[in-house]
Symmetry: C2
DNA sequence: ATAGAACCTCATCTATAGGTGAGGTCAAGG
DNA sequence: CCTTGACCTCACCTATAGATGAGGTTCTAT
């Protein structure tokens, strides 16, 4: 008989969250999830971590780096499970990030459309090269893609 | 008096392409660009590399990893500068990749919209978690984002 | 009680895309 | 001539996100 309220082992979490045990170790080491230890020093987790890992994976799909995800999760109280309201705030922020990413990629695609066959790459006023330069001037690389995430 | 047809040094390429000297070294080591050496063993490049570097940077913005960019460039004859037709083929292929990326991110955003506040993350039929599982089942991680690039 | 599965830590490795500094060489102007 | 800036190689470092294996311990079921 399985008690659905029993604490989860690393293996349980890994299997049920669809990640490897190494990943669970890694997330705990990075402070993204939290648990306690058994008498014999084995990891134990509340069922709540499953939702946390799910949230982490969704944010990663949206392109949010782990450090930023941690920042966002840290801004939430840790003494209770994630609530719907928490998820609402996180998903809204990440949705906006996603929109910005989509906007940037769409703009690039449109520029690519406009430039296909034009051979203008060597000219100073090519929109593709200029957009790139404008970004480069604002800092180093990938500004649009890696721009600040919520809570960090 | 500056001869616009004179070969470029690494420093020239770096300055004019908007990358660091380390990056030029790196690209040459990876076979993304090619040049020759002066009597004194210093790197020399034809002006053509400027266009190549520009193409590389655009592909990177589209999310194409360097190895795939190299694959695409290797499929092109190296005994002449990049032509408009070459650029046409590359940009069309990358445009499609970009479209796929945009589609995947847009789908994720729509799912996020549908799920905001629904609190369904813990349920097995949440579209966000399922989409994730479907991807995971096809291999490990980031399938949509890193899917095959042209010429590799 | 004991076999075997699951778990522990720690060190090392993978891949991507470069950056940094040491120690030495090359090239051009005053 | 000789200084100075640009260049060379090589080794090692950074960050991200884990994977892998060694050597030893704990848990659980029979």
């Amino acid at each position: 008989m399985i008690d659905v309220r029993a604490p989860l082992s690393v293996g349980d979490v890994a299997r049920r969250a669809g990640v490897t045990i190494a990943t669970v170790h890694f997330y705990e080491a990075k402070g993204l999830i939290r648990g306690w230890r058994s008498e014999g020093n084995q990891r134990r987790y509340a069922r709540d971590v499953l939702r946390r890992v799910a949230v982490i994976k969704i944010a990663q799909r949206a392109g949010v780096p782990l450090a930023a995800i941690k920042g966002a999760l840290d801004a939430l109280p840790t003494d209770r499970p994630l609530t719907v309201a928490d998820w609402d705030r996180l998903s809204t922020a990440w949705r906006d990030l996603l929109s910005e990413r989509i906007r940037a990629l769409t703009q690039l695609r449109d520029q690519l459309d406009g430039c296909i066959g034009c051979g203008c790459l060597s000219m100073a006023d090519c929109p593709l090269r200029n957009a790139d330069d404008r970004l480069a001037a604002q800092g180093k690389g990938a500004v649009l893609l890696d721009a600040g995430a919520p809570g960090s």
